[in-house]
């Protein structure tokens, strides 16, 4: 991972870590523009990111070099995940999975399975 990506890990995004994770996860299977991102995220996460929040997170990701704008003929500019963005997302999701695994294991031990 590049030095720039290390400084841009999602932990430093504060309250934008959630939207940033959703955006990076959405871009993981290919470039998308703002509206396509909104619909995709709504589809897999059940969350509709409002335009202001989406772009606030997108600008931060762009500034950190975790996503990259692509050229476009119309006004809808698509974004794609960069190598640094993919590494940051992988690291963040792995950490989240460890937390989820521990939580689920403890729940199963103390409360049984649902």
């Amino acid at each position: 991972m590049s030095k720039r990506a290390k400084s841009g890990e999602l932990g430093g995004f504060g309250r934008y870590a959630g939207p940033a994770t959703l955006i990076l996860s959405s871009l993981a299977d290919g470039p998308k523009h703002g509206y396509a991102l909104t619909k995709d995220i709504e589809g897999f996460a059940g969350v509709r990111l409002a335009p202001g929040t989406l772009y606030e997170a997108l600008v931060r990701l762009d500034g950190q070099g975790l996503v990259q704008a692509l050229e476009s003929d119309d006004r809808r500019r698509p974004y794609q995940l960069t190598e640094a963005g993919a590494a940051a997302l992988r690291s963040h999701l792995s950490a989240q999975r460890r937390v989820a695994d521990v939580g689920l294991r403890r729940l199963a031990g103390s409360w049984g399975t649902a």
Partner: protein, 331 residues
């Protein structure tokens, strides 16, 4: 996704105006497309307006280096530093105005309470810290800017440096000229000595616009026209000098060896600001008017304290952003 209606586009374009110009130039078109599509799908959503308002505030804060998410990430620290400089000027304007008047009052009569005496000592120490930190930071930065303005004309530094020098000269010359003015002689301390070197008088004259006389026009218009003119010219000179300095800081890449000096000096200045606020609170809480009411705190002092608290918060945030990025030097 169908093409949004002209009405939705117009509403989206209106919302876009809340964002800074630089942000609009980079993201405006695509953001309007998204907003218009959202408006077409969900026409009546007050939460969208609130969300866009919040996003635009964050974009403005990012533009002055108080938050992440700038359009151009390469100069984030320089933006933070320029904002820090503006916060320092505003803080110092109120702090110097307050301190100089208390110091002059102290020279004509002692405060009756030890709390006020202690408050003045704390404020004096705090200002000494702030001034020392500011000088440590300013001298090498000013030298760098002066050298670059001569050696690298493509940076366009000559105009902002020239504006800063001109405005500072006007401010100093006027402050020296009016240092014994004491607001047209109508002030109760108009004949008081300004002390060795007249430093307190010069500081008072340079911050004379921080005054309650603005809301008492009948008293204000009794002053000589030259002093009223100075009360208008001096804040303009401060604004011009601050603008020149901020524009310079936005364009100058500092040498690597200067970064620790600037960082330490900025943090020290913020600590001094905090100490000065404590001293001001001690004075206001004591509330003793002293002989001839020369130590009486007024509404302008309470407003001054509020402004200083806000600028202290801005300065602290700007310093933390500057330290966070550590990219004051050229990328």
């Amino acid at each position: 996704m169908s093409d949004p209606s002209p009405i939705a586009l117009r509403r989206a374009e209106r919302l876009l105006r809340w964002y800074p110009r630089e942000w609009r130039a980079r993201y405006g078109d695509e953001f309007v497309e998204l907003l218009a599509a959202d408006i077409a799908e969900r026409p009546e959503r007050w939460s969208r307006t609130v969300d866009v308002a919040g996003g635009s505030v964050m974009a403005h804060l990012a533009g002055i280096g108080l938050s992440g998410g700038t359009v151009d990430g390469s100069d984030r620290s320089r933006r933070s530093l320029a904002t820090f400089e503006c916060a320092v000027v505003v803080f110092m304007a109120f702090a110097l105005s307050m301190w100089s008047q208390l110091d002059i009052a102290r020279r004509s009569s002692d405060p009756t309470t030890s709390d006020t005496r202690r408050a003045i000592i704390v404020m004096t120490l705090a200002l000494a810290v702030c001034v020392a930190a500011t000088v440590i930071a300013t001298v090498p930065v000013a030298w760098t800017a002066a050298l670059k303005s001569v050696r690298r004309p493509e940076l366009g530094l000559r105009r902002p440096v020239g504006l800063f020098l001109f405005a500072t000269t006007v401010l100093l010359a006027g402050a020296v000229m009016f240092r014994h003015g004491w607001a047209g002689g109508a002030h109760p301390w108009s004949h008081a000595s300004t002390g060795p070197g007249g430093a307190a008088g010069v500081l008072w004259a340079s911050t004379v616009a921080v005054s309650a006389y603005w809301v008492h026009p009948s008293m204000l218009f009794k002053f000589p026209i030259s002093e009223i003119a100075w009360m208008i010219v001096s804040p303009l000179a401060v604004v011009a000098a601050t603008s020149g300095a901020a524009r310079t800081l936005r364009r100058v890449d500092l040498p690597t060896e200067l970064v620790p000096f600037v960082s330490v000096a900025s943090r020290t200045a913020v600590a001094g600001f905090g100490l000065f606020v404590v001293g001001t609170l001690m004075w206001l809480v004591d509330g003793s008017p002293g002989p001839g009411e020369t130590f009486q705190a007024g509404t302008v002092d309470v407003i001054g304290l509020a402004v200083m608290c806000v600028t202290l918060a801005v300065a602290a945030q700007a310093v933390s952003r500057t330290s966070l990025h550590r990219s004051l030097t050229a990328p």
